[in-house]
Amino acid sequence: MKKTIFSSSKYRQYKSKLFFYAVCAFSGITMIPLFLIIWELLKKGYKQLNLSLFTEVSPTSMDAMLAKISNEPIPGGILNGITGTLLILAISIILAIPVGICTGIYLAENPKGAFSKLIRSLSDLLQGIPSIVVGIIVYAWVVKPMYSYSALAGGISLAIMMLPMIIRSTEESLKMLPASLKEAGLALGGSYSSVVLRILLPSAFSGLFTGSLLAISRVMGETAPLLVTVLGASVVNWDITHPTSAISLLIWEFYNDPNLAPLVWTSSLLLLFLVLGINIFAKRISKKWKIQ
């Protein structure tokens, strides 16, 4: 009798150990794709990684084919995509950050009102809209009435996607401040607006900054909404009412054109590098500021 209890507990221990190893194995497997993807992009993309990538616009299919035949590297770069991404991001930042921060302050300052609850759930709703749907909405709002695809339309669609993230991070980082901070400011006779603008916002700055950077990195690689709003362009364009390119749109073009395929890896490498770089930078900075 004693022996069976002993062996069964041994069996249970064994099962528990086995489960632990399975958990570790599955967790390990999950991390593999990240490294495989980075490896693949490095392996196939480094060849085209040169200065002209940043100084020249994307080549035509014809030029690329000729280069391929004579066994030369494909000429041109993705300058039009880089400038386009910068332009579109600048528009979305200008639109989303002020509105997002103001709404976040409103929600943090009026946490319980019915209006706040409504706005909070609408913000969640906006966050859940698939990116392609955001794209076609902005198509109906902006592209159709203006009779033209435009950087502005792309900027608006990315702004809609950033907005909920900025609202959330503003509200959360303001809520993390001790209530006495606001009271201390008011106790010194400060007006409501000066206490919010000079004490609360600066104190929450690290959270706001990180939140905004993460939002930017999240929308930077978006392709689907840009496909139906900015269309793409083969030249550098700074006019916000004109069609524009973006790094992600160029990847899509290169992917669809066998002649340009070698460029797809280099531009993806650059995009991934930018997105993950901002992502890591944002988290580093928030950690560093938190310790202080």
């Binding site: 006495s180 201390a184 400011g185 106790a187 010194l188 006779g189 400060g190 000066s194 206490v195 004490i199």
Partner: protein, 261 residues
């Protein structure tokens, strides 16, 4: 009961008349408090936790205005003027406040922290005036010598006791009429507590101080007069000496002898 200490004919700097504070219409945290406070004294407000002592103190600074659900009634006269008829920002400038936990503004340097009241009120000072205010305020809290070489560092780098003295400096930089302190030493170690207590006795020369404390011996050490509050009522208000030696009310006596609290 007439809660006034008539020792001489000094003017009262602070007069509370039937002050009540209600969090909800049914639940009053402070009820019908009447008390007058003389200039350049230290008045301690004591009582078990939840008795309404902090609530009363915060009413004098009109901090309850921040929470629309809180109703304050009655009159509070500051130098004869009803604070509820004044601009709340002016009230708060005249009544400095020091909080339980030291809370220097985390993004500001020590220098800017002292001047925070001026900045928040958009009062422009010349560079020499600013330097003077900072030095004088820090000297009055005996912090100047400790921080004068690191004046542009963040206030949050200081120790807890230093931070609390910085917060006092921040409050007195605006030259308030009264200084309200809400358990200013409850988050500090004994040595820092000692220094703050010494400081309070020094500040008494220039300011009128009202301090909430849950520490009876602290009240005995530093205050001239004491209030004892219980369940939102001001049970007893007398000179500290009188209260600690011959309390008039049974509840005060029970509290002071440790029956509850």
């Amino acid at each position: 009961m007439e809660n006034t200490i008539n020792t001489n004919n000094d003017k009262y700097i602070l007069e509370l008349k039937n002050v009540s504070v209600a969090y909800t219409p049914e639940k009053k945290a402070v009820e019908d408090v009447c008390a007058n406070i003389r200039e350049n004294t230290v008045t301690a407000i004591m009582g078990p936790s939840g008795c309404g002592k902090s609530t009363l103190l915060r009413a004098i600074n009109r901090l309850h205005d921040l929470y629309p659900e809180i109703q304050t009634t009655g009159e509070i006269l500051l130098k004869g003027e009803d604070i509820f008829k004044m601009n709340p920002m002016k009230v708060r400038r005249l009544a400095g406040m020091v909080f339980q936990r030291p809370n220097p503004f985390p993004t500001m340097s020590i220098y800017d922290n002292v001047l925070a009241g001026y900045k928040l009120n958009n009062i422009k000072l010349s560079k020499s005036d600013r330097d003077e205010v900072v030095e004088n305020s820090l000297r009055s809290v005996a912090l100047w010598d400790e921080v004068k070489d690191s004046i542009s560092k963040k206030g949050t780098f200081l120790s807890g006791g230093q931070q609390q003295r910085l917060c006092i400096a921040r409050a007195i930089a605006l030259k308030p009429e009264v200084l309200l302190m809400d358990e200013p030493t409850s988050a500090l170690d004994p040595i820092s507590t000692n220094r703050i207590e010494d400081l309070i006795l020094e500040l008494k020369e220039h300011y009128t101080i009202v301090i909430v404390t849950h520490n009876m011996s602290q009240a005995a050490r530093i205050s001239d007069n004491s209030m004892f509050m219980y369940l939102g009522h001001l049970v007893e208000y007398d000179t500290t000496k009188q209260m600690f030696t011959k309390p008039k009310d049974k509840r005060t006596e029970d509290y002071l002898t440790g029956v509850f609290g």
